[in-house]
């Protein structure tokens, strides 16, 4: 089925939710509200006409510097593909700035788990109902979400844990230059079993 037809069907079925449909180079994106995103995606996945069984990509976008009528501050983009029927569609769910959260789709595809964690980590959109929403690529004590437009490309501050790490390196240097961690392991062995390396 053509992507435009699918978009029309989604619009018929979820009239309240669909805000706009846009077409670019033959790829159709449907801009929707965030409230019923799980229902929309479940319908797209299970309906025999669409069978969108492969979640290709999920990512967050910051719309701060982007012009658009129906755009809120953030959006979560779902790229879906149907392996049996060979068509694709894109769903763009709008997320407001004051409450940057959306329902999780890990109930539909458990592979969305890491996609959503990445989106939370880098864009700061939280996913309600996600089983394990933690930072994934950045350290756990990182402040801020780098892919937001106000986040600078080159920051002035160091990572908060860096000083601690440098102290640790200095502390460990007495056990031998370079591979401090290996030497502490040996030291523990020496203390316990009295083995000398």
């Amino acid at each position: 089925m053509e992507s435009m037809e699918i978009a029309g069907k989604v619009r018929d079925r979820f009239q309240e939710e669909v805000l706009d449909i846009c077409d670019f180079h033959g790829q159709v994106g449907i801009i929707v509200k965030r409230e019923k995103i799980v229902d929309i995606l479940r319908w797209l996945r299970d309906s025999p006409d669409t069978k969108m069984n492969h979640l290709m990509d999920l990512c967050g976008v910051d719309n701060k510097k982007r012009q658009g009528e129906n755009l809120l501050r953030y959006e979560v983009v779902y790229n879906l593909y149907s392996i049996p029927l060979r068509h694709l569609i894109r769903i763009r769910a709008q997320v407001p700035e004051d409450d940057a959260s959306i329902d999780t789709v890990t109930t539909l595809w458990c592979g969305a788990d890491w996609h959503e964690r990445e989106c939370y980590d880098l864009m700061g959109i939280s996913f309600d109902g996600h089983p394990d929403l933690r930072r994934i690529l950045l350290p756990e004590d990182w402040v801020g979400h780098p892919l937001r437009k106000e986040y600078p490309l080159r920051g002035r501050e160091e990572w908060s844990g860096l000083e601690k790490l440098q102290h640790k390196v200095v502390e460990l240097q007495q056990f031998g230059a370079g591979d401090g961690i290996m030497r502490t392991g040996t030291k523990k062995l020496q203390a316990k079993g009295g083995k000398k390396s």
Partner: protein, 408 residues
Amino acid sequence: MTRPITKTVEVPVADGDIEVYSLKMGPQHPATHGVLRVDLELDGETILKCTPHVGYLHRGFDKIAENRTYPQSLILTDRLDYIAAMANNVGYCVAVEKLLGISVPLRAKYIRTIVSEMSRISSHLLWLATHALDIGAMTVFLYCFREREVMLDLFEELCGARLTFSYPRIGGVRQDVTYNFVDVLQRFVADFPGHIEEYETLIDTNRIWLKRTVGIGVLSADEALELGLTGACLRGSGVDYDIRKHRPYDAYDLIDFEVPISDDGDIYARYRCRMEELHQSARIIQQCLDQLPPGPIISKDAPDLLMPLHGKRKLAPGSSTYGTGLIRILDEKEDLPQGDIYVSTEVPKGELGFYFISDGSGRPYRMHVRSPSFIHIGALPALVEGSMIADLIANIGTLDVVLGECDR
């Protein structure tokens, strides 16, 4: 229908004698193929819980790309999957070409198909070598590296680099192939099926290999789909999904090849799929070399390496760098299309997708890389929980992950 993927494991809670043993494997473990840390909770040798930790190689690819022009970001893609950098370059170029609406000359399409398949061979050989080494078959490693060396030498002859190529350009390729390149590659492709048989005699019916792989890490088709696996991991579970066939790019719609599929879904099935892919890659290269058409190698519309924020300047025909995709001076304004696009290609690891949002300037407003390794490592707990700790090594090997691509 959603069904729980995580296998149920009987955790002996009430028994006071049994203690859950926690083990941190990595980030500097030789079998994790890079800097992957896996936190394990063990009951004896059975894995109760597996938590992978990634991000040690995170370089902020998405953020950097937002502040560079499209051609400038090309060199970043080398650093994603450094085992098959050429396939990443081609994937990026295909995506940007579709966004900017550039049509590529036929000869360039064929050359890019050849180099993509060469990188698939080189990547699969490295996978086979290390996977066999992890499981304990040392000899395969040496044989695989013998053939991989030929591939790297050919790449070196083509563009001067052995690992990070940046050889394809948006709109074509940088240089034409040489006679010697075609000659050596012809001979390699003729000999290669014989070499694959050599590897197969070493491990295909080897009893230890079979014990370590058959029936281990089984995923059904539904489970693999739901986990988002792509590439040989998905085809090993019996799902016919190959982007070269589903959404053909470059010259793949002009070439006759098959997509190997296995229904078993275990490590051995994925191994067989990849071995068959090696045969098919050789076949594709053979056909491309036979059909290689004459003509230009880069489009006249190709943006320059020094693409400005708005548009480009077109030099008059006859000037020295006209139409070569090399550096030109820029001042003419030309608006780029506005919109968003998702284009994916089949790289050796699976589906590599690029999602671009263009706001009409020379830099992407937002760029997101869907890297197969990231999703594959996310699927690791579903594969290993409930199995033995020794199978973890085999399972990491069968997913064929590269951490540079995972962390981006």
